[in-house]
Symmetry: C2
Subunit: 212 residues, 2 copies
């Protein structure tokens, strides 16, 4: 991929013995760029979020963005790191997983503008869509697997759960439908909880005929 130039782990650990990241003095600039990039990507999407605008927000020159992140795609990859921090649903009372999932999802989404950014980008760029698929595969599927007994049904159930969660995020945080944006968190939990619960744990409703 890149040289050993642009990729720096998201620091935080400090003073460890064998420090792999020597804490360059430009770290504040890098952080400013990432912060501005996240905001722009979240509010404008990939195409409309120009490097020049991001650089202006970060109060530096556009060429710095290129130096530190290679190109626009690299910047997006560095700025958008998704971690849903999903809890271990297996450790919860089985009848509460739907509500717990809804509540957790709302909290994470509202505390992390990156999620809206990725959703916006996913709708228009293939790279964004594939990245979203990665989040689904690496973070949602495993959690669903913990509550769903039949492994064969896991992908479909996870997809249904995701469709409802992303649909809510879309109408509430991206499209900003007034009724969707006006609901309180607990109202949403009360409505979506049973839906997710059913998608996760209810028996397959394939009763009358088997298609194909």
């Amino acid at each position: 991929m890149h040289d050993s130039d642009t990729d720096r782990g998201s620091g935080g650990s400090r003073g460890s013995a064998a420090a792999p990241a020597p804490a360059r003095r430009s770290d504040s600039t890098r952080a400013a760029i990432l912060h501005a990039a996240r905001e722009r990507f979240a509010s404008d999407g990939y195409e409309r979020a120009t490097i020049r605008a991001i650089a202006r927000d970060a109060k530096i020159d556009p060429s710095m963005v290129m130096r530190y992140y290679g190109n626009k795609e690299g910047l997006f990859a560095a700025a958008v790191a998704i971690d849903l921090e999903l809890p271990d649903l297996g450790a919860l009372p089985r009848q509460e997983v739907g509500r717990a999932l809804a509540r957790h999802f709302l909290a994470v989404w509202e505390g992390n503008e990156v999620l809206t950014a990725l959703l916006r980008v996913a709708a228009t760029s293939r790279a964004g869509a594939e990245r979203t698929q990665g989040v689904f595969r690496d973070q949602i599927l495993p959690v669903v697997r913990q509550v769903c007994p039949d492994p064969e049904q896991v992908p479909a159930r996870a997809a249904l759960v995701t469709s409802q969660l992303l649909g809510l995020a879309l109408t509430r945080y991206v499209l900003r439908f007034p009724p969707a944006a006006g609901l309180t968190r607990e109202e949403i939990v009360a409505w979506l909880g049973p839906t997710l619960q059913r998608y996760l744990t209810a028996p397959h409703p394939d009763h009358p005929e088997r298609p194909s």
Copy 2:
């Protein structure tokens, strides 16, 4: 601001007595432009769908697009005319509205690429988001009002229904999650039907505190 020039009703009616549209001889070109525009907007989104590419698909010059539709926004407005053709849910057996809505939604979406186009555009442009709000307000809200007794709950319930339907469209037709794209129509109807049914007709789950 050229009004009486570019706007022509979406033709189809032919030979009416007092024809306000004299059926110009460029109608086939106009149709070709709209067709190409719909495909490009659906697959690429608003920004990446360039007028040049649309014109190339329609095998005409880019300037024709400008002459007939004014500018890119006008072309989008002309190309994306949403009609969900929602049936009268009040005329159905009350326990079937959820499934019927899901089935109808799938049929309309898969037969009309414009819907995917609008969804893609809505995620990145404010104009697209507002247009989607218009569809919600003019086409979904009235239908929900027919099955929901309490007028005060109509917007919230409609928003929930929309969140599930758009979420499915997003994962299935835009992001193309393999599990979501692989489901059959009837499977989706079987899963989403009860969800929509509950959003439409179930009593308000207003008491989230449950004795555990």
